[in-house]
């Protein structure tokens, strides 16, 4: 069963909670209060709705991808989050959290970013609300998503390279949390996915569920299948949540199989991980036998994360959503295919969703399938060009 909200301990069943250093706990509790109050306040909703329509460009369209549908023998629709301002679903969350930051009277914002999309979306919200913005980004991601680094700087944000660990998303989240432990009085942490300690997974889900709510209105009949890539899980949560438990609708989350599950170099936390505590929440994560966090691997910076939002862990155990994975190579093939058949370059994250659809085309024959096209691929063009040599 879908839960309206986590329980009083911040749990979705066994998952979630607040495993945070004591220094942060009062801020997390304050945030829960501020969010609960804002979310019950019609004026917060009207401010947010106005921004979502006139600034973000919502509702985003649903596009019937006829050429690729014909090729695959399915009826494929794309929920065009790539057309939202700044090019991905991340802006839904950052505009809302930016509004909340102002309401809480904080003037400084920190964020982590992997693909750079959340960093850009946070920098954008900070420009809009006149907030100081610091974004932590892993060294390796700074290299592979260079375009977004420059965009963040253009928007007035400071990008701090993170050199610990593998220099990817996990390390960026940890660095942001360490900053927050020191700066909590003046600073709000705009986390970029449905991860972290309570209330973040719940709050970010509430800010992203607009994707699925729109889709429900936009389609005359519900689809058979909804597919979304899963990194931390925010775009998938956003499109799935309003459909969870709906009869006849299968929800499929696609994780990164990286170089292949069998190589151990992947980001399939739900598929291959086990329950543990990462970044303040109990969830599925990649870890060794002693509970040390393992590095994830994916061509896609946004899916290169050894954990996942706790509500997805709950959905997995309750079998409300099916979680699968596709490899780097399959994602790159899908990236090219959408470009040439539909004139749309997807983010490599979103290309994972399409890759699963392509692989499963036969079993999906004749069905209506919606792919959450979580972002556009401009940021990835250089990386893919490099692969093509």
């Amino acid at each position: 069963m879908r839960l309206d909200r986590p329980d009083e301990r911040g749990r979705f069943g066994a998952y979630g909670g607040m495993f945070a250093p004591e220094t942060l706990m009062p801020a997390l509790i304050d945030l829960e209060g501020a969010f609960t109050e804002a979310w019950a306040d019609p004026s917060f909703h009207s401010d947010l709705d106005e921004l979502l329509s006139s600034y973000v460009g919502r509702p985003t369209p649903v596009y019937h991808a006829e050429r690729i549908s014909a090729e695959l023998g399915i009826d494929l629709w794309l929920k065009r989050e790539d057309l939202a301002h700044t090019g991905a679903h991340k802006i839904n969350n950052t505009v809302a959290q930016g509004l909340l930051t102002t309401r809480m009277g904080k003037r400084r914002v920190i964020a982590e970013t992997g693909a750079g999309q959340h960093g850009v979306a946070t920098a954008t919200a900070c420009a809009l609300f006149d907030l100081e913005c610091v974004v932590y980004m892993g060294e390796k991601d700074i290299e592979r998503q260079a375009l977004n680094v420059y965009r963040m700087e253009l928007l007035g944000a400071e990008v701090i390279p993170v050199t610990t660990g593998a220099g990817t998303l996990k390390d960026a989240v940890s660095a942001a949390l360490r900053d927050w432990v020191a700066s909590v009085a003046s600073t709000h942490y705009i986390i970029g996915s449905v991860v972290g300690p309570h209330p973040f997974p719940w709050m970010v889900r509430e800010f992203q569920k607009v994707i699925g709510e729109e889709l429900k209105r936009q389609l005359e009949v519900p689809p058979h299948v909804i597919v979304a890539p899963v990194g931390g899980g925010s775009n998938a949560m956003g499109i799935f949540y309003p459909f969870v438990g709906d009869e006849g609708v299968t929800l499929v989350g696609v994780e990164a199989a990286g170089r292949g599950i069998e190589t151990g170099m992947h980001g399939a936390s739900l598929g291959e991980g086990s329950p543990g505590v990462l970044h303040g929440a109990m969830t599925y994560m990649l870890q060794d036998e002693f509970g040390q966090v393992l590095e994830a691997h994916s061509i896609s910076a946004g899916l290169d994360y050894p954990g996942v939002g706790p509500e997805h862990a709950y959905f997995k155990d309750a079998q409300l959503v099916r979680y699968v994975s596709v490899t780097d190579d399959e994602a790159v093939v899908a990236f090219h295919r959408l470009a040439v058949t539909e004139g749309i370059t997807p983010a490599l994250e979103s290309a994972h969703g399409l890759a699963w659809i392509i692989r499963e085309a036969e079993s999906l024959a004749g069905q209506t399938v919606v792919l959450n096209l979580s972002g556009r691929g401009d940021k990835d063009v250089q990386q893919v060009a490099g692969l093509d040599g």
Binding site: R9, A20, P21, E22, R178, G280
Partner: protein, 273 residues
């Protein structure tokens, strides 16, 4: 029944705090990451610190994603992990430190290694080393109950945290859970050296003392003899971490690390006396 009750870890920890109170000074509890630069050199470092006047120790079990730790302890943890210091190796080191120094030893970890092992089994393994207790850096009182239960089952003394940001209701809730001591986080921020003495210790101690007699140990940001002495005036113990760890990881050799750490710990012990 009929057997004499064995003294538990928590009993021994209490005895240390009682002795310190009787002598009118705070316990000096150096923190050092387990098994750096090597296992045997690490044992010698702890012995040297015991000889230099440490009253007990906090031994850090290296963790891959230590959210409460600044760059120095992170680097030490990474070095240990790369050298193969797994949780069992770190616990072996704890046992050796207990054996060779005879001092009360607290093991410090993050929550996930405990959960991975199973709470009961992990606490049993820590108790077997002869350690007196356990500090779990990312475990707030709100999630602590199953861990406190395991602590009482195994006789280990577990701390709960109070930070400068902790309000009265949270402080009371932590005390109500009857921790073996309060780990009072002296600075808002992660572990690491600071230029100035904490301005929070007096007020934090007063707030705790108003409500309870639970021992108070200050940690985070205490990095000089003067700072230790200042915090020691308000608490039952002080933990000095990054300043010691840095002397170990920056040393050119194990022998150099030993003498640097011994003289530094000696200076702190003198300041606390």
């Amino acid at each position: 029944m009929g057997e004499a009750m064995r003294e538990t870890g928590r009993d021994r920890l209490n005895a240390m705090f009682a002795a310190m109170r009787a002598s009118g000074r705070a316990a000096l509890l150096p923190y050092l990451t387990a098994a750096i630069p090597t296992f045997e050199a690490s044992v010698r470092l702890f012995k040297a610190m015991a000889d230099a006047g440490a009253d007990g120790f906090e031994v850090g079990i290296p963790y891959a994603d230590p959210l409460m730790d600044g760059p120095v302890i992170m680097r030490a943890g990474r070095q240990a992990l790369d050298a193969g210091v797994t949780v069992p190796v770190a616990l072996d080191l704890v046992a050796r430190v207990v054996e060779e120094t005879g001092k009360p030893v607290l093991a410090m970890t993050y929550v996930n290694p405990v959960l991975r092992r199973g709470i009961e089994r992990f606490f049993n393994e820590v108790a077997t080393t002869g350690a007196v207790g356990l500090i779990i850096a990312d475990l707030p009182a709100d999630e602590a109950v199953p861990f406190l239960e395991a602590a009482s089952a195994t006789g280990l003394g577990m701390s709960l945290f109070v930070a400068p940001t902790t309000d009265d209701a949270r402080l009371q809730a932590a005390l109500d859970l009857d921790p073996a001591f309060i780990y009072a986080i002296a600075e808002v921020g992660v572990t690491g050296e600071r230029d100035d003495a904490s301005s929070n210790t007096e007020r934090m101690a007063a707030r705790i003392r108003e409500r309870s007699d639970t021992p108070i140990v200050f940690g985070v940001g205490i990095s000089t003899p003067d700072q230790a002495a200042a915090a020691g005036r308000h608490g039952d113990g002080v933990i000095v971490g990054s300043a010691i760890v840095r002397r170990v990881i920056d040393a050119g050799s194990a022998a150099e690390a030993e003498s640097a750490v011994a003289s530094f710990v000696g200076d702190i012990a003198a300041a606390l006396a």
